[in-house]
Amino acid sequence: MIKAFVSAAFALALAGTASAQTLNMMKGIDAPHYDAQRTTWGPTSDIVNMFQDTLVALDWDGKTPIPYLAKSWTVSPDGKLYTFKLRDDVSFCSGKKFTAEDVAYTFKRLKSPEIKGPYAWRAGTIKDVRAADPYTVEYELSEPFSELLLLLTMFTNVILNKDNVEALGRDYGIKGADGTGPWCLDSWQPRTHITLKRHDAYKWGPSMYQNKGPVKFEKLVIKIVPEDSSRVAAMLGSQFDTTHQFPSQFIAQAKAAPTLTVQEAKPNFQLLYFGFKTTRPMVADKRVREAMSVAIDRAAIAKSILLGNADPAFTIVDPAALDHDPKTAGIVTQDAERAKRLLDEAGWKPGADGIREKDGVKLAPRVYYTANANSARVAEAIQGYLRKVGVDWKLQPWDSTIAPVKMAEQDYEIWSVTVPYLSAGDLMNIYFDSANIPTPNRMNWKDAETDQWLKQGRSALTPEERARYYAMVQQKVMREHLWMPVLNINMHTVSNKKLKNYRPHMIYQNTFYKGLDASF
């Protein structure tokens, strides 16, 4: 009897130890693969940031690149040659030593036509990346790229193990992926779970973390729980330790729950906007676009629809983001009467049912968006405001699997996306450059001045010069009302109170980032 009791107690103690060494995380959506260079997909990025590293890390302020795999760097006076000195104590999960050859291979692969990296532009226009010695990389550009260091912090620029990529071939990122990150990719059951294990050799954590490595958990298990209310119930029931995808409408419940902690990533740049396809007759007139933008009450939408879990956005670039132009602040204001006047001036007159018409056509633009909770509810609220000024938005949500294809078509007037970004340049270079028509420049905005200023901003040699050109672009695209900025969506992490020292980061919706300090 005593023997049985002791055995049971021992077994229980063992079980307790095992669970204490596993961090259980939950997210709503899985990725199609974990090859960072071949995607723009957010659900790939958070996992990639756990098991792979970049040359430079992004500090908590969301603006400052700090040393990571590169311990220092110099930039040539013409801004075209970056010389990175690498750490010599870094190894991959496989045990292979990290060297400059891996860095050179990574960026050559990113730029190769076979990969078609959608975010390859974030690495600049590379002329050559070469290993000067095993721990020195010469990163040569065809033209200066003033935001290179900032954008090298993004997940698409993580350093790959050349041997691992070549060995796995087309299966890289599906059957496995090696990295130098604090966690190692252990197993992946698509749409079910991802398991990562501690990288025991890791000791090169960036200065932003107190713990330089290794991480304090043996395992990190990430379960995919697509249903919003299931994630809420699971967190309230303490089945998981943390999630960064907690539905915003339940944040108040999480805050009230005695077992949970809610943290907000600050700063946080995550814009929910509605864009206008300027080549469609119904929204070709900028007065019509402005009318829709000024007719809505953003503060009320943030408070009532997102229940305070968002801030009203009147500018496309957040005031706290790098290179925001303060002069854009007054371009969009709330004024329903002005909206009516603008529509009258544009020739859209109220019809018998209150909806405006012109030449027998109703002002009823088709609005596309992905059918997730935030976009749908915000679109519906805006629809309500616009009906009051005589505009009848025809809402068309699409499932997330088909939305990118549908939004690449041309037979709609307006679309909505929530976009995370790092700086004015990061946001505008991809969306407003005419080279990116028809997507992601879905506005079909083809303007020589915009293209020129973007190029000048990209290749500026000083921060001041860059800010000046990016300010000109912001002024132009906002005065043209190409986008209707609506909300800056807050990014929350909900954790069990037993999880300590976990500070959410803002980088590309990857609040966990490296998770080095987190512990029970």
């Binding site: 209310s229 419940q253 629809i305 059918a371 519906e380 609220a381 309500g384 068309q396 949500p397 499932d399």
Partner: protein
Amino acid sequence: MSVETLNALPAPVPVGRAGVLRRLMRDKVAAVAAVALTLIALAAVFAPLIAPYDPYFTDLTKVMQPPGEQHWFGTDNTGRDILSRVIYGTRNTLMLGLVGVLIGGMLGGVLGILAAFYPRLDGWIMRLVDVMLAFPAILIGLAVAAIFGAGLTAVVIALVVATVPDVARVARGAAVGVMGQEFMEAGRAVGVSDSTLIWRYLTLNCISTIFVFLTLRFGQIILIGSALGFLGMGAQPPTAELGMMAAQGRDFLFMAPHIATIPSLAIFVIVLAANLLGDALRDVLDPRLQQ
């Protein structure tokens, strides 16, 4: 259903309209269901006259108000009056059910009768029906919505596809029974055309069976339509539709449970009333049950 079974049935007892109504009203449950459905249908038809508010008018200063004096059923997450939206939503939900049942019933009936009348088509039509039966209506709705976009059209297509195979089988069963009757053979013998035989002799003799089946099917169709609406495949905002309204309220169950529960209750009442009435109609019209 085999021919032998149908042939073994007693001859139908003719039932007049007054007889049907009288017997329906004798069943108290059926009477209550009929009255409830009639009131619901009247509210749906006269929605613009009855609804106290514009169902599309949003007011973000009055979101998620509980049921009260100003708004009997409260307001939703954009401040719209739920009572007005339920009235309009009922109209759309009933319309979906009716369209689904009528079009599906018509197509299924034609297929079933043709299968019975032309034996060479029988195998082809019935295999087609088997294929259609293999796809759940919800799956078809999701597929149509994914390809062409969510909307009432996607729901109607799904509901029609869901109705056709069942009706085709029932119609074929009834028609095979009628085909074995002597008057059909006599019609052929005297040279009556196929179209006359099909319409005047076959269809008119099967129609009550199909009708009873469709009344029973109506409740299920409404439920499937509401489920598709709940999944976001049906009507799109601001159109009021009960399934979609229930889905919108799901996100606010902790804060404002009335937003989801009131449209859900409305669906429950409509489906229950339709099922009870369908059962009663079957009892009145089915000759076997009359025995």
